[in-house]
């Protein structure tokens, strides 16, 4: 086609008074946006820019500004510029729109409409710098049936884990960073559905391995190496959709870890072909329990969808020790945009409903609840715990700590920050020694903040916070939303 109606998404502005022609922007842009002629004339191909900000951040004189391209369609509340641009793109390609990261649309974020309580006069607040605060959390079935027997438990020093991101979707250096940080802080990282690389076996005491519909990398050693096994049924970014790792990302190393041929597409089917009912799920859970000789908790991860309370109840009854619920803000390396932006329900609603349903049915003690999908800060963590979670998974927040700038182009494999890529030249941009420190710092910072907030509420143990809905009030919410969340309105 001769004419492309798509204007560039971003514009690159170079301040000539500041540019020193050093070439850092050129050598750091894997999308080949920046160019310099032999006579030092510089020019840009803005069509290639994804807005990852790598050049702007590394430019030593801050000569570059990357902003959204100032094409203003005539204002229209129904037809947003995103809708118009997406149609232009599809009219060129005839294909499904792909995207990365989590749902960015303007749906309500309930976390932002919940306020924490604090102690005043009638009950004392606690200073976490002077008094002990307990954040240690155990994940697993607490209901062994016999007083002298315990089901296997996962110990977390902080109730925050790194969520499943597979080798292939992210670089090995990302996994090394997260694994080292998890070991240092005393929490867990998750392999995702991409197998466990040989270099990461040393972190096995802090590793959750995933068994998903493609069964990539699953073998007896893999199960043996883990602290827990997670069955992934679905993920928040693409409920009901399988996975597709493009062949160009399946390097020899990725292929070996996944136990598939190199450079072949790694396709995870939408359903597990051996799970069509709760009874089938129970069989797989028991199979994994037997394979690990009942020594490791078995988690089941599902996306938060309309009937999540009943689904979670079934999962607990099928024998899962941990239920992971991934809300609709959950991210991914690649998903069809329409699925990501229009499917699922908010994690806050799902969490409150599942917790209440399990309590009502008297089975809450049989499984721990883990919330995932869109946890942005320690305040979100604490609100999730109050709504009923035992712990949370963070994925996007961890990647941002490693340098991710949320350009949502993970699926291209050309991540300039060395995160969502398997290209050796790009992967090396994330030094795992540095990454481990940054990811560890994030958890340490959040741990301090959680203790501060708990202290303010006069609570010194995270166990006293879990499901303690009186510590939350809703603001700017309708009555039915407050009832679904199980919280009172601010002022009540």
């Amino acid at each position: 086609m001769s004419m492309n109606m798509l204007t560039p998404a971003f514009t690159v502005q170079r301040n000539p008074e500041r540019c020193i022609r050093c070439g850092v922007c050129i050598n750091q842009c894997a999308n080949e946006v920046h160019h310099m002629e032999e006579d030092s004339w510089m020019w840009v191909e803005e069509e290639r820019c994804v807005g990852c900000q790598r050049c702007g951040v590394l430019c030593p004189t801050h000569a570059l500004t990357i902003t959204e391209f100032p094409l203003h369609f005539r204002s229209n509340h129904h037809w947003s510029s995103a809708h118009i641009r997406e149609i232009y793109a599809q009219s060129q390609t005839g294909g499904v729109l792909l995207t990365g990261m989590g749902n960015p649309r303007s749906y309500l974020s309930y976390f932002d409409h919940l306020l924490l309580n604090a102690s005043q006069v009638t009950n004392p607040s606690i200073d976490p710098l002077r008094e002990p605060m307990e954040l240690t959390t155990y994940l697993g079935n607490k209901d062994s049936g016999k007083p002298d027997q315990h089901k296997p438990q996962l110990q977390l020093k902080v109730p925050i884990m790194f969520s499943a991101m597979s080798y292939g979707a992210v670089s090995l250096n990302v996994q090394k960073s997260l694994a080292q940080a998890a070991q240092q802080i005393g929490t867990m990282w998750n392999t995702g559905e991409g197998g466990l690389h040989a270099d990461l076996r040393e972190y096995s005491a802090h590793t959750i391995v995933q068994v998903a519909s493609g069964r990539f990398g699953v073998n007896p050693d893999y199960l043996e190496a883990a602290a827990a096994v997670e069955i992934k049924i679905g993920q928040g970014a693409k409920p009901g959709i399988g996975g597709h790792l493009p062949g160009e990302k399946v390097t020899r190393d990725v292929a070996q870890t996944r136990m598939i041929p190199a450079w072949s597409d790694a396709i995870s089917p939408a359903p597990h072909h051996d799970i069509y009912s709760i009874e089938d799920l129970a069989q797989l859970i028991e199979t994994l329990q037997v394979a690990t000789r009942y020594t490791k908790p078995i988690a089941v991860k599902v996306a938060a969808v309309h009937n999540i309370a009943a689904i979670a109840s079934g999962i607990v009854r099928a024998g899962a020790d941990i239920v992971v619920i991934d809300g609709f803000r959950g991210a991914t390396g690649a998903a069809p945009m329409r699925i990501r932006d229009n499917t699922g329900i908010p994690i806050e609603m799902a969490l409150a409903q599942v917790n209440q349903r399990l309590l009502d049915e008297g089975i809450r003690q049989q499984a721990s609840l883990v919330a995932a999908g869109g946890i942005r800060s320690s305040a979100d963590v604490i609100k999730a715990i109050i709504l009923g979670a035992d712990a949370v998974y963070i994925g996007t927040a961890a990647l941002i700590a490693l340098g991710c700038h949320m350009c949502q182009s993970c699926f291209t494999g050309r991540c300039n920050w060395g995160i969502a890529t398997t290209d050796p030249g790009l992967s090396k941009r994330l030094n795992p020694h540095k990454g481990a420190v940054m990811a560890g710092n994030l958890l340490t910072a959040w741990e301090h903040e959680i203790k501060e907030m708990m202290g303010g509420m006069g609570i010194n143990s995270v166990d006293s916070l879990r499901g303690n809905h009186l510590m939350l009030r809703g603001i700017g919410l309708e009555r039915h939303e407050l009832e679904l969340l199980g919280v009172l309105a601010a002022g009540e």
């Binding site: 850092v24 050598n27 750091q28 590394l58 030593p60 004189t61 050796p424 030249g425 030094n431 540095k434």
Partner: protein, 150 residues
């Protein structure tokens, strides 16, 4: 005692920020990159070496029995108590004996005197290149410290 900057080629991006900050940190530019590159003559003290898909910073080893210092005819090349070998520009006569003696090519011709890495003597904290490396590929090491322990 040996102190020097070492580069891990495994994590070197070849971006060149180390050299830019090196140049701005010397010759009186007071860490102003714009002044060094737009008003002055930037003179980085180290070179980036590219080899296929790898790169690394090639910089002075601050040898314990340094040939450059031994061969200097005026005593302009000196070693301080930390083991840093530096050029005292007042004494340099630009005979370039040191340039010929350095087996690594770490000493460069300058307008008034030769110049070489001085590990940013007088700067507080780490050398400019180490501070500027976006990927932690550069480290200042002391004698006896394992290179592999990063």
């Amino acid at each position: 005692m040996i102190v020097k900057v070492v580069c891990s080629a495994e994590y070197c991006l070849g971006c060149g920020l180390c050299r830019i900050h090196c140049a701005a940190g010397h010759d009186g530019y007071n860490n102003s990159i714009l002044k060094a590159y737009q008003r002055g003559t930037p003179r980085p003290r180290a070179d980036l070496v590219y080899d296929q898909d790898r790169s690394w910073l090639n910089t002075c080893q601050h040898c314990p029995d340094a040939p450059c210092m031994n061969g200097c005819i005026t005593g302009a090349l000196q070693q301080d108590e930390q083991g840093v070998i530096y050029v005292d520009e007042e004494f340099c006569v630009s005979c370039y004996t040191c340039i010929m003696l350095c087996p690594y090519g770490h000493i460069h011709v300058g307008p008034q005197a030769v110049h070489k890495c001085d590990l940013c003597r007088g700067r507080s904290g780490q050398p400019a290149c180490v501070d500027a490396c976006p990927n932690g590929a550069l480290r200042l090491i002391d004698e006896g410290e394992s290179l592999c322990s990063m």
